[in-house]
């Protein structure tokens, strides 16, 4: 932001101060919104193509070459559809909910370093900000479910609240390890801490475990299949957005996809070295190369998401919550201990071995404890 302000002053000193300031503020926002909305449109296409491939069909192939303009057609279709608001709905909240779903997703983008020297706002508590803001989507989902005055919507909303609250905990615990390693909360600082050969945090035993936990929690947090209980089609119609149509529905889809992309961006920043990569420090074109690296890594995360969506069935509610509380959370706590061992180990090799052993034992024990449970036949209290 400051850099752009200085550039403007340097190259066009005639521009009034206030205008330069406004440009310096608005330009990064415009760039980020533009780039990520394009990525979002592309992602819907990639997802449908990839899912089609997994399910042995072609996916969209009518609009434009290989169906590339399908997102445009979808957007136009949803824009021109009638916007139906249920008669009993709470009008104001019903209107606000889809708007508020999109806001936190985009706000997280403010602290994601997309390229070398390009981060909209370099907060010194960047990662904490991202984690805090992304919780805001819960309220929007709940507002949607509650305002619709529909049993299915409310069920979906309650599910999403329970799910997000549960997965928040192991997610933050997994992130703690990275903060310990980098010694800073700034997103740029975390990326810079991963310099060097095999310096990415995912290449360390604790980093790998934290990466897997974080990735699973991120998928659960944005409610993507296999964790898409809040909108499970086979059980509760469409969950919290059952009563939404037209562009409001499109906004929900956009919120979900943009949240998936931004969580991917945070994952890349924290575990995969962000914009770092061969050539990212070149003097003139470094920013372009580093942006390329960032988006390549983001692409890998996104493809993993789609792959998981295409291959795994949806989990049950008790499995979902048990998985978070009985497996991921204890593992994340052990991971912090492993990180402490690594930190205080006399040399790197000892640290590697010791933390890897601790983690392996913990994983084996936790999996042993958690498998083989059988459930009694359920009895329902209110049905006699």
């Amino acid at each position: 932001m400051d850099a752009i302000y200085k550039l403007i002053q340097h190259y066009a000193p005639k521009i009034p101060d206030l205008l330069a300031l406004a440009l310096a503020v608005l330009l990064p926002i415009a760039i980020v919104m533009g780039v990520f909305l394009t990525v979002f449109a592309l992602l819907t296409w990639v997802e449908r193509k990839a899912l089609g491939r997994i399910q042995n069909r072609r996916g969209p192939n009518r609009v434009g070459p290989v169906g590339l303009f399908q997102p445009v057609a979808d957007g136009l279709k949803l824009l021109t559809k009638e916007d139906i608001v249920p008669a009993a709905a709470d009008k104001v909240v019903h209107f606000l909910a889809p708007v508020l779903t999109v806001v936190p997703a985009f706000m997280v983008l403010a602290v994601v370093p997309v390229a070398k020297g390009f981060v909209p706002v370099d907060l010194n508590i960047g990662v904490l900000f991202a984690l805090a803001v992304s919780t805001g989507s819960v309220l929007a989902l709940f507002m949607a479910g509650w305002a619709s005055r529909n049993k299915f919507s409310l069920l979906g909303a309650m599910r999403s609240v329970a799910q997000v609250v549960s997965y928040e905990v192991p997610m933050v615990m997994a992130a703690v390890v990275i903060l310990m390693a980098a010694g800073t909360l700034s997103s740029v600082g975390i990326v810079e801490a991963q310099r060097g050969l095999a310096g990415w945090f995912v290449f360390k035993p604790w980093g790998l475990v934290a990466f897997v936990i974080f990735q699973l929690c991120a998928m659960a947090e944005v409610a993507r299949t296999p964790f898409d209980l809040p909108e499970a089609e086979s059980e509760i119609v469409a969950g919290y957005h059952t009563e939404y149509s037209g562009f409001k529905f499109a906004l929900f889809q956009m919120g979900e996809y943009v949240a998936a992309i931004t969580m991917g961006g945070i994952t890349v920043t924290m575990f995969l070295g962000g914009y770092l990569g061969p050539g990212s420090d070149l003097p003139k074109i470094g920013w372009l190369v580093s942006a390329g690296w960032f988006f390549a890594k983001l692409g890998i995360i996104v493809v993993i998401n789609i792959w998981a969506r295409g291959t795994w069935p949806r989990v049950r509610v008790d499995q979902l919550l048990g998985f978070a509380w009985k497996l991921l959370l204890p593992l994340a706590l052990v991971n912090i201990v492993a990180m402490a061992i690594w930190h205080f180990a006399s040399n790197k090799l000892v640290g590697w071995g010791a933390s890897a052993v601790v983690l392996a034992v913990a994983i084996v024990a936790l999996v042993k404890i958690n498998t083989g449970q059988t459930f009694e036949k359920r009895s329902y209290r209110f049905i006699s």
Binding site: V93, I125, L128, L139
Partner: protein, 168 residues
């Protein structure tokens, strides 16, 4: 700066007023969230980024969701059944108490020399680091007591839930 401050303050005050005057409980909660957001905005404006993020994380991410669950378990959410509005009756008493409390706080905060006595350099970079260090040195006893308290509450909740299971 002043424009931002005034807008934020207006939003915050509006949220607070709506939270106590609206009849529908869920609307009240949403107004309360607006108020929390305003406070977080103030923290960011004052360059207290850490406090701002924590405000969002705890008050919007946790407290608001907790209140939400509590509301979902109550009847008469729409506030249409019986009773006066929340502003009926002895509203002047509430205003009086609130003004007195706020006034007393203002007086004592202004009088106290706590801020100047703070030994911790509140530098931009080091706030989080300083807080972390203090939590495990000077304030380790309160921290541990809080941890024990929370663990006790957690175990208590599990025990209560288990008893209900047995009764069925």
């Amino acid at each position: 700066m002043t424009i931002v401050f005034l807008t934020l303050s207006a939003i915050t005050v509006l949220g607070a007023l709506l939270a106590v005057t609206l009849r529908n409980l869920v609307h009240c909660l949403l107004a309360l969230v607006l108020f929390f957001m305003g406070i977080a905005g103030h923290f960011f404006l004052l360059k207290a980024d850490f406090l701002g993020a924590v405000q969002i994380l705890i008050y919007i991410g946790a407290v608001a969701v907790l209140i939400l669950f509590a509301i979902m378990l109550t009847r008469n959410i729409s506030g249409t059944e019986g009773g006066r509005g929340s502003l009926g009756g002895a509203w002047w008493l509430g205003v009086g108490i609130a003004t007195t409390l706020a006034g007393a706080m203002c007086v004592f905060v202004r009088r106290s020399d706590l801020v100047s006595k703070l030994p911790y350099g509140a530098t931009e970079e080091g706030v989080v680091k300083e807080i972390g260090k203090l939590l495990v040195t000077d304030w380790v006893v309160p921290l541990e007591i809080m941890a024990v308290l929370l663990t006790a509450a957690l175990i208590g909740a599990v025990v209560i839930a288990l008893e209900e299971e047995k009764k069925r």
